[in-house]
């Protein structure tokens, strides 16, 4: 049987990422994930959505696909924006931000990578797909 999936289409409006997290919470309960696992998925999802909303310069919608697998949850965040080069994104460190004239933001990718078990970025001038996977340990 094909594994179940859930798909969302979010307009680029402030705080729409919370719709994605509410869906993630329902899926997490369905999959009997722990509170920590559910929180990590929601936080990573928020950051991926914000990146898609703010940095992609996408004008239409952002698409979220949840793929419920036997031993993992895969979440894809897809935008049709301008794309980005991950190699040019610096790893943020608070020591480099406090007391210096550097912007305090720029933590999204770091958080996503720390909170999920694997993360893949596919990006070109027609859009970006972030694929995040959380392995299920029962």
């Amino acid at each position: 049987m094909k594994q179940p999936s859930v798909e969302l289409k979010l307009p680029i409006i402030p705080n729409m990422e919370l719709i994605a997290t509410q869906t993630a919470e329902v899926i997490a309960r369905h999959m009997h994930l722990t509170e920590d696992q559910a929180g990590e998925i929601s936080m990573a999802l928020i950051e991926a959505c914000i990146n898609a909303f703010e940095h992609s310069k996408a004008e239409n919608n952002v698409f979220i696909h949840f793929l419920i697998e036997e031993d993992s949850l895969v979440v894809k965040v897809i935008d049709q924006g301008i794309g980005f080069d991950k190699t040019k994104v610096e790893i943020p460190k608070i020591e480099n931000k406090i007391g210096k004239d550097e912007r305090k933001r720029g933590w999204g990718l770091q958080l996503i990578q720390e909170l999920m078990d694997s993360v893949e970025f596919e990006s070109n001038s027609e859009g970006t797909t972030v694929t995040m996977k959380k392995n299920i340990t029962k």
């Binding site: 920590d36 929180g39 990590e40 460190k93 406090i98 933590w107």
Partner: protein, 113 residues
């Protein structure tokens, strides 16, 4: 006052801010507005009760980094208590716990800050 700010009070010369809801850019700015106003009045110790803030984003938390930076200029401190596990983990990843303190309870926070 912003809907995000549930209450403010003072205890032991510490300003305690209770938040309610999503800590995003607007929530962060609501906290910073109170902190900067109180700092102008001479206060330099702040605690944030985040019991009703279960969801944050990195933009809102980045505003807390700005507050930490401003507090360093006046030898001040900021701490947080009643954090959801994912909020605590986010603060750790972003390094806030190197420059500010997470407490379990208000009692521990007021005596420990």
């Amino acid at each position: 006052m912003s809907d995000f700010i549930k209450s403010t009070k003072e205890s032991n010369q510490i300003v305690i801010i209770e938040t309610d809801g999503y800590l995003n850019n607007e929530g962060g700015e609501a906290i910073s507005a109170i902190c900067y106003e109180k700092m102008k009045a001479g206060q330099n110790k702040f605690l944030i009760n985040m019991a009703a803030t279960k969801v944050v984003n990195s933009i809102g938390v980045s505003i807390l980094i700005e507050i930490i930076e401003k507090l360093q200029e006046v030898d001040g401190k900021i701490g947080y208590y009643n954090l959801a596990p994912i909020v605590s983990k986010t603060f750790n990843i972003m390094g806030l716990t190197k420059y500010s303190t997470v407490f379990a309870t208000e009692e521990e926070a007021v005596s420990g800050l």
